[in-house]
């Protein structure tokens, strides 16, 4: 592991099942200390990519490197640096929460990991459940346990595979806060989600994938800028005929404009021959990631 190594590098990854390409020639990377989001509809290939990183699947072609270690050639080094929160709940019928964390620490070579386990149990609000059997826990608690498991060995790269699927708002927000905290401690995060609000809130950069292919990649806010428009609603003091190429609707003194995301309000007013004195009220709705996402998917279908 050197200073220059990416936290994660996926190079030309292809995974075929028979004739079906689950992932097709995918390349992207995650910088150290970055939260990177992989967005895509169900079945886009997000989980297949995660499975290839932790060697649950073997690539048909291409390489995956974690901090410079090829996961196929040096699996134990790569996996020691990686923590994974799988999409589906894992049950542990025979054991209680604390035992599960002790065993899991052991799989990562840690025999005496009491301090870290106590910290995670405390931080994730699992204290009163630590001696409960896993099957007695609620869905939300089981999900917190998955996160604790992924972090027992203080990984440098955290893979979150749709961590908030089926999770209530309170837990979702506390998870987001926790992920941001981990990032500020230097953990790099790969997050897959189809909740775009989540990606917009958390991710420094996102990649949009569809049918196993990477359609667009970039910093979250520049994707939003590139693929969305601003909606501007104006209420004039008195109704007047307005002419502008950006005008989409006029109902007497109420006007609606759609302008490019880089266009300023002054420029709009100028082009429509309006001044601030004509305006009684105004509202601007900025484009969001969801809009950008739908446009990227829409363009790629065309």
């Amino acid at each position: 592991m050197t200073q220059l190594d990416k936290a994660l590098e996926v190079k030309g990854l292809t995974k075929k099942y028979g004739d079906f390409y689950a992932v097709n020639n995918m390349s992207f990377h995650v910088e150290p200390g970055e939260i990177f989001g992989l967005l895509g509809p169900n079945g886009a290939g997000k989980t297949t990519i995660i499975s290839n990183i932790v060697t649950l699947e073997t690539p048909t072609e291409g390489d995956v490197l974690v901090f410079g270690h090829n996961v196929q050639e040096e699996p134990r080094k790569a996996k020691s640096l990686t923590g994974i929160v799988p999409q589906e709940i894992v049950n542990h019928g025979f054991f209680n929460l604390e035992e599960v964390l002790i065993f899991h620490s052991g799989y990562y070579g840690l025999s005496n990991n009491r301090d870290r386990i106590d910290f995670l149990i405390d931080r994730l609000g699992l204290k009163e459940h630590r001696h409960k059997k896993v099957k007695q826990l609620s869905g939300g608690m089981k999900r917190r346990l998955l996160i604790a498991k992924a972090l027992v060995h203080s990984p440098k790269l955290l893979l979150l595979d749709e961590p908030t699927a089926g999770v209530d708002i309170e837990l979702r927000e506390s998870l987001w806060k926790f992920v941001q905290e981990l990032r500020s401690d230097g953990v790099s995060v790969l997050l897959t989600t189809h909740y775009l609000e989540e990606a917009e809130e958390l991710c420094d950069r996102v990649g949009i994938i569809h049918h196993g292919e990477l359609r667009k990649i970039g910093p979250t806010n520049s994707l939003v800028k590139e693929f969305t428009q601003r909606n501007v609603s104006l209420k004039l003091k008195t109704a007047a005929k307005v002419e502008s190429q950006f005008l989409i609707e006029q109902l007497q003194e109420n006007l609606r404009f759609r302008i490019p995301s880089e266009m300023g309000l002054g420029e709009l007013l100028h082009s429509a021959h309006l001044s601030l004195d004509d305006i009684d009220d105004m509202q601007i709705v900025e484009g969001n990631l969801e809009e950008a996402f739908l446009r990227v998917l829409g363009e790629s279908k065309a």
């Binding site: 542990h92 019928g93 025979f94 065993f103 052991g106």
Partner: protein, 263 residues
Amino acid sequence: MNKNLKWTPFMMLYWREVRRFSRVAVQTLLAPAVNTTLYLLIFGVSIGRAIKMEEGITYLGFLIPGLIMMGCLNNAFSNASSSVAGSKSAGELEDYKSSPLSSQQIIWALSAGGVSRGLLVSVVTMVVGELFYLNQHGEFLPINNVFLLFYFLLVGGFAFGMMGLSAAIWARSFDHLSAVGNFVLLPLIYLGGVFYSIDNLPGFWQKVSLANPLLYLINGVRYAILGVSDVSLGVSVLVTLIMLLVFLSISVWSLARGSFHRW
């Protein structure tokens, strides 16, 4: 925080296996003890009186070593296989693959878990058997060679633990797995000479029996306890060692090629 990827993952997974079967001791230890008692009562005591054996050996004495080995093999197999099958249905098996646990660590930890349960069942069987023997013959059944007894129990237990692990890796459901137990394992065990000496079989079936590797395990234990056996000791030691290596190879191949995914 001590980090040791060489031994800790193995030790922890082995410890998990022991905890798992001790949580359900009624199923894993008491049930085999009841089985053994029934076999000894029905075959060893009541039917056994009518069976003529070689000089100096009673049918009860002949049966006890067979039951000890049978208990060990059955339990080593079912411990490893039900652990893997249970972990598959819970999604836990994926944890093994995505953590730094190596294939060798998984194989040896799971089969050692099976051996531990197998040995405990063997001890229970031995104790129950000795009590029956004392009751019928007024003395305990002596053990001819303790070292050989351990050798055959360990080799057989590890081999069957590995077999259980491999079967569960390939199985697609619990039904699939129980079919392996019922159609492969059970016939091999019963035809391996637990209840009879192959000398009593017609010539053709004697030859068929010699192809069953379990015959050598069961007769190995019989030699270790009684000092007599249907096949020579050297052949038994060699065949069982080869069997262990074959099952080790099968389990390495199974973990490399089989599925860790949840059912």
